[in-house]
Structures are given as C-alpha cells and as structure tokens.
C-alpha cells in the first residue's frame, strides 16, 4: 500500500473536538434495510443468485427459509444491530434491551426451536442447517455488513467528496482463514479493474469492475459469502499518480443500486417484489407467498 500525502503537524492550540455520548443513528445503513421486502423461499443459494442484484437488494431473504415469521425475526435483529438506539418499531431502546451478535444468535436459535424447525436428514450441523453456528453467523453478519457498507458508499458518493476521494482501495482480508491472495488477484483482473499497483488494489469508485469483483453485483463489500475484505476511500492525488484520473477531471459517481423508498407496508412491498420476479422469470412459482421455483 502506498503512503499518501503527509499531514501537517498541528502544534497550534486548536479547540478540541467535543466527544459526545449522545445517540446517533447510521441512517444510510438503515435505509438499506428499510427498502427490503420479505422474500420467503425454498430455493438454494445458487438459485437465489440467479435473481438480479436489483431484486436481491430489495429483498430480505435467506436460502430455503420459507417462514415469514422467521424472516421477520432475522430482519428485526439485523436492524437492531445496525441501530443500537431504537427498536424496530422506532421506540427508544431501554437499558437492558441491547442487541449484540451473541444475543442475536441465541434469539435466532430459540426462535427456530419455537417454530419446531428440524434440518433435513444429513444436513445437521452443516451450512444448510438453520440452527448451525456457521449458518446463524452468516445470517446475521451478511445483512449487517451489506447495510453498513451500502450506507458508507452512499455517504461517500457525494460530488464534493468524490472530487477529493475519487478512488477506492480493496483492503487485505482479516478473516481467520482468508482465501489466498491469488483468488482475489485473479478476480480483480477478471473484473477488468486496473493495476494492481504493486500490492495496492485501487480503482475509481465509478469503475463498473467493482460490481464484477464480487458475486453479489454490488460495488461495495461484502464481495463474497463470508468475505472479510473491506474497502476504503482513496485520495485524488494518489489516483492521479496511478493514472486513474486527470488533474482537472470531474470524477463520476459510484453506480450504486437504486434505493427507492417503497411502501413500508410489508404486504404491499412483497407484492411489488413478487411482480419484479415474475417480470424477469415468467415461469417462477409462488406457493402461498413462498418462492418455490424460478424456471
């Protein structure tokens, strides 16, 4: 990674920033959850990946979860982790009403027991088993990570910010057992992204290659199931040095998926989602509101 320009040392007496303990909400991240409608389904993850990113980005789903009740619990828990200040109904969280990942996992497991869930024979303890620790972690971490990364990308897509930070860097993985570097360097090249510049994986935020880098079709992380590679904004001077942008050039925005505010009534939103799926897959089958087949 290349060092960026040096900061001036501040030896003057400046008013110090105030550190506040007042509640603040990550509104842009919550927006990612607010536009999603529940999509109960009996499809596996490969079949769900056939759906357009535009449809997936408006749906709250998990492979082979056909219970609307369980999807609602999953959705509420994700929102409660993203917003530690409020309950899903908008009321202020009271002392003792915290939601962290450990509590979320315990609640999900308890809810599955309440529903009488049993995995299919042979699936016990695997990723297909909704009670398994691996599956529960994935079900909590992925939506929270999508929402926070979308929120950050949306904030950084402001024209004034893009002008100063037109680039984005893929950071090294922090997974306990990361995929090999060759896995990502191959994907980087196959996506048509520039460089890398030594070990520095930098491209303009507007580069459509970011959407091809991952499997979900989004220009922001996570890029893969369970991936722990994040991104960070890159300053203009380094992008110019790498030849990604010319000095007086106005940077293009990141092609973020549209997030129109839909109806907040779940039934109505689900209806819209169902119509979007049927428009793309006319042979798709819904049984009692559950997506059971695409083609």
């Amino acid at each position: 990674m290349r060092p960026e320009s040096k900061r001036p040392e501040s030896k003057t007496t400046m008013p110090t920033p105030n550190i506040l303990l007042s509640p603040i909400t990550f509104t842009d991240a919550l927006h990612d959850r607010a536009v999603r409608a529940l999509l109960p389904n009996s499809l596996n993850s490969n079949q769900l990946m056939e759906l357009d990113p535009a449809i997936r980005n408006r749906a709250a789903f998990s492979a082979k979860v056909d219970s609307t009740r369980h999807l609602t619990v999953l959705d509420n828990i994700s929102s409660m982790i993203i917003d530690p200040e409020h309950n899903p109904d908008g009321s202020q969280r009271q002392p003792g009403q915290y939601m962290n990942e450990a509590r979320a996992r315990a609640l999900l497991r308890a809810h599955l027991e309440q529903l009488g869930y049993e995995p299919a024979p042979g699936d016990e303890g695997t990723i297909k088993d909704l009670r398994s620790t691996r599956r529960i972690r994935l079900q909590i971490e992925m939506p929270v990570s999508f929402a926070r990364n979308y929120g950050h990308a949306a904030q950084m897509n402001d024209p004034a910010i893009l002008d100063e930070f037109p680039g984005q860097r893929l950071l090294p993985s922090y997974a306990n057992e990361p995929r090999p570097d060759t896995f990502w360097s191959r994907r980087w090249k196959a996506a048509g992204l520039p460089g890398p510049f030594g070990s520095d994986y930098v491209a303009l935020k507007s580069d459509p290659g970011w959407m091809r880098l991952g499997i979900f079709g989004n220009p922001y992380p996570p890029f893969y199931w369970g991936s722990r590679r994040e991104v960070e904004a890159v300053e203009r001077n380094l992008c110019e040095e790498y030849g990604l942008i010319q000095p007086a050039e106005t940077p293009e925005p990141m092609p973020l998926p549209e997030r129109p505010i839909q109806s907040t009534i779940p039934e109505a939103a689900s209806e819209t989602l169902m119509q979007a799926i049927l428009a793309k897959f006319p042979d798709a089958t819904f049984k009692d509101g559950v997506l059971t087949q695409l083609t």
């Binding site: 501040s10 003057t12 007042s22 100063e164």
Partner: protein
Amino acid sequence: MSLTVNIKLSRTQQELQRILQDNAGPVTPAESKVIGAGITRLTKRHLRARDNTHGHKYPEGGRRSHFWRKAAQSTTFTADADGITISVTHQGVRLRYAGAPDGIKPVNAKALAIPASGASYGRSPREFNDLRLVVFKNINRAALVQEAKEKGAPDKVLFWLVRKTKPIASDHTVLPESQDILAEAIHRLKTMRERKESNNV
C-alpha cells in the same frame, strides 16, 4: 450505544483560516462534507488498527469477534454549515470509551455472565445447551460449567456469574487523538483550497 466526535465549525473555522493564512472565507457546506469524510476515514483506519492489536486475551485461543473491525464498519458522519459529526454506532463502543466507574449491574436478569475462556468469549450462555450451574463455596463464586467431553478430563468453567462487575476504566484511545483529528481537518481544507486555486489559475 454510539460514540460521537463533534466538531463545531463556528468554533474552529477562525483558527483553521488563521493556520492556513487563508482569506478564502468560511468553510463551505461542501468543504465540511469532505472534512467529515476525511475524519471518518481516519477513524475507520484507527479502529481497524486497533482490531489488529486488541485481540482477546485468552491464552487457549478461540474465535475472534473482530469487535473493532465491526466498529469501524459502523462509523458514519453528518456535516452541515454548523459542524461535523462522526459517530461509531456499534453496540459496546461507548462503554469501552467512557468506562463504567461504578461497574455494570444486570438489567432484567439476576446475574451477568462473564466469559472465562476463549471458547466462551463473544458468546452468550444461551448459545450453549450443555452448561450447568456450579457454586464454588471455597471462593464464594458461581459459574456456568461445561462438562468435559473426554472421560477423566476436568469440567471447564465457561462463564463466571457476577451480580456486579468491577469498575471499568475509561479508554480514550478508542478514538484517534484530538490533534490527529484536527490535523486531518486542516490537511483536507488546505488540499481542497490549494487545488481550487490552482484550477482557477
């Protein structure tokens, strides 16, 4: 609960202009957004670096929760004509910053479960289905114990149960140093104004 860094531009902009020897006028809303983005990046970097140096302390290992990475991911900002606000919205960050001088007491429960090993770190007792309550009268403590899976091996204490924790010290290194935050603000403003000037030449 979230932790917030707030910079009131009305207080700082005169100083910023003096340092920059700048006659370009007050900080504009667009400039304050860029300063906010720069300080957000600084804060995220700081929290990611902290994640590299602050793993859990259990010698037998165990899965890491990457608390600070997730805190970095939860960092957000707002900026307007009055000021810039950067917040870390991950549950538990505020407690680590501000501490709890009187300790923590359980709410809606009789006791708090404190992880006693790498296997229970970052997990709730409800995630286990093989724990039993044991009271150690000799040390006057209660624990949730997991029965050994191998015959003859000792049972393992996974959680200590307490009615109140010890005082938790505040830790202001959770956030970047104030002078680093302000240096980033100055650097960002200076870069923007220099570029604007050179584009106008």
